[in-house]
Subunit: 261 residues, 2 copies
């Protein structure tokens, strides 16, 4: 499995991915799921991937080679030739469909799950930062301010904290912290998601530097965050009063409140 989150808030873009892949529980490896699609000529575009590793690599390889030109006298179509982030998402979607057409019949015949999903985010020149989720059929959605995050892979364990804490006006620092808390919950509940994590932060303010960082197993900040969060959750839980319906004094009246009798 995999867990990747893309967060698009007012102050910028955050991408976080784990690095664990498994083909069965006895075959666990570390693979990068954070991929640079373009970083020259004003392009700064990343892609995170979940699902079948060979299909994903096929898509990335095809994008690096370039997709076939529309007419014979043109060049192959590459990310770094696309005039907009929307066209980038379209090209990635096309590559996903092409890989599916080529690989899926044999994979399905072999009983292998061939599905993938991708999160693509970045910017071109002076254009706005954009974030897309590309589905297995090559269709895609764009992240919007009302729900400023997109997830792929094992999405559910880390969704409650994002639902509670993330909005479009969350600061970049805070959004990175919440994103990492979402990973902490997921790593705790899902063996198939694991450290190290890859983090990319593209601030909307172009005077601030782009961050690319691998958060290793022994990363002091993540270790501290995980320990503090665990302790604070325990304290919070302890601070909530016990249910009144189990108190000895309420036993006599419990059956009156029962809908079962």
């Amino acid at each position: 499995m995999t867990y990747c989150v893309g967060i698009a808030v007012r102050d910028g873009l955050i991408l976080i991915s784990d690095t664990r892949t498994n083909a069965g529980l006895d075959n666990i490896s570390t693979y990068r799921k954070m991929h640079m699609l373009a970083e020259t000529g004003g392009y700064l575009i990343f892609c995170m991937s979940a699902g079948n590793l060979s299909v994903t690599q096929h898509v990335l390889g095809q994008l690096a080679e370039g997709l076939p030109a529309i007419s014979p006298d043109e060049c192959p179509r590459r990310i770094a030739n696309m005039p907009s982030m929307f066209r980038v998402a379209q090209l990635v979607g096309e590559a996903v469909r092409a890989a599916g057409s080529e690989l899926k019949p044999a994979l399905r015949a072999a009983g292998v799950n061939a599905g993938i999903s991708l999160i693509v985010g970045g910017r071109i020149g002076d254009g706005p930062i954009k974030l897309y989720l590309i589905y297995d059929a090559g269709n895609f959605i764009e992240c919007c301010p009302e729900t400023p995050f997109l997830q792929i892979g094992a999405t559910a364990y880390g969704k409650p904290i994002l639902d509670r804490a993330m909005n479009y006006h969350t600061s970049l620092d805070e959004a990175v912290k919440v994103g990492l808390l979402s990973f902490d919950s997921t790593i705790r509940s899902d063996l198939s998601v694991g450290l190290p994590l890859d983090l990319v932060v593209i601030p909307a303010d172009r005077t601030r530097e782009v961050i690319r960082r691998r958060i290793e197993r022994d990363d002091p900040y993540f270790t501290d965050l995980s320990a503090r969060w665990s302790m604070l959750l325990n304290q919070s839980r302890a601070a909530i009063p016990d249910p009144p319906f189990l108190a000895p004094r309420s036993y006599g009246s419990s059956s009156e409140a029962s809908p079962y009798e």
Copy 2:
């Protein structure tokens, strides 16, 4: 969808289920998923259900009627004739298989998801409290002290808090509270799970009364628990330091730490 949790700690058994069912997002109803299987003659056995509602009701109806006798001169086999909780789980599993054999071919032909899963818990006479998860194929597992809870339905959103906070020695009060927090997270992240909740508590100490309670939408304790938890999570999050790698002073060194260059 549905969310049900069964918790078997040293001090007793807790069952909690939601009541929302949906056939499409435009057809949402309230159905009880907490069912009494037996409550006379020393039997106290409940069942919670997730999945196809018609298949579930078929199973419950068949259990109420009794499953066909093994030999012609015997009575139909009912929950309240079973000599042990293990035999109860076997009988429920058999009813699940029988309903599947009868209903699934037509349901599958119609493209309807026919799967169900059940949590069965309770006690017989002076015997120990037992808790089982019955799968769609009628096979089942028993809850064990190492992981003292079983979930069915939309299990992932509410699993992190159970993973963190629940162990076999958690008190009954605390376990009910943690169970309700698990529902609070699930209800917040999954529209298909909703109040009211049904709660059953069977204390291991037989001098304590069995609790059966419906937690309605306006239940003061659950409303307070939800509001406090939200506030405490926000405070906890705020109490965790911001990531150091975004601080302006670290910008200069970020690219040195990057695995991508």
